[in-house]
Symmetry: C3
Subunit: 134 residues, 3 copies
């Protein structure tokens, strides 16, 4: 399954929790694992607080400070900063599923991380039927 995303800014954290939850719920998997995978090299996926939207602003602010847009990069497309952020945050997350629901912590939401937008983006959703119960 694929979750499509339209980013609107150069850098943006987009809460996709309900999108992924809908896909998982309608799959009928019951119990297992959900793997999210971003097939882009200037984007990523992360899990963090979704209750206060200022948390994602702070994440973007510090990451932009650590990995500046201009730093004598060799890559000629001018978006090396976005590539580096993609590697630091990473292209995938794994989340448990029980009763067709993502098992997230109380404050956790799933965020698509746009580092070189605006663009049309995708998140691949893979479900694994967990076979071992203890």
């Amino acid at each position: 399954m694929i979750c499509t995303i339209q980013s609107k800014n150069k850098t943006q954290l987009i809460d996709i929790t309900s999108n992924i939850q809908d896909i998982v719920r309608s799959s009928g998997i019951g119990q297992g694992l959900c793997m999210l995978y971003v097939p882009h090299t200037t984007a990523a996926v992360t899990i963090n607080e979704s209750a206060d939207p200022s948390v994602k602003d702070d994440i973007l602010m510090i990451i932009d400070t650590i990995i500046p847009w201009k730093a004598g990069y060799r890559h000629l497309e001018g978006n090396s900063s976005a590539h580096i952020k993609s590697t630091l945050i990473g292209p995938s997350e794994l989340i448990a599923v029980e009763n067709d629901q993502l098992v997230l912590g109380t404050w956790q939401g799933i965020f698509f991380c746009e580092f070189d937008g605006p663009r049309n983006r995708k998140v691949h959703v893979h479900l694994i039927k967990e076979k071992f119960q203890v």
Copy 2:
């Protein structure tokens, strides 16, 4: 299964290798994968050297330097630094299991990363029966 942790400091790397190993051993899974998941937004899990405890001090020191506690953050709870660290290190790890044992490298241990303690914390342990052998 759940591994419970009581952190004692504001920031702290806690070696939970033997805790996870005990859970895996008593599961009787044999062979598969072990997924560790932290359901918190100001904590994380990582894998690094467990032989010399000074490695974890150095990790915490540099991460505190990169992501300072005060930096004009918008989030009013005052713990944005902890949220950002959580996203950079990440909430999960995957480790292979053979003969009911975690397959870690010679120097590798598993560390719960407390970034806003002291608190009572949890790590969820999920086991996947690996189905494909070559």
Copy 3:
């Protein structure tokens, strides 16, 4: 399965996409997930652009700037910088497999990250037969 790597420099990103692709193709798994795991504490694995080799130079350059080799570290072996980089990038990646092929994005390649070479290194390759299709 194990993919062996001989790094040549102190820090180096090595494109191992074709190595992993060969292992997956010859496995005959068909459809599932491929988990890559680095059993070292001064190395990592990441996914990023493989088309322009200057991207990996830029990644290494910024990471060396963020996490310097000298910073008053306590660990006496002198390679704390490499340990910290290993934790920030992480020891594993998960990639979907369809028709015995890794499902990577158009620009994505898999890179072994050497942070304290030159050394003989390994990447463990685990395959999971995905059981749930929707």
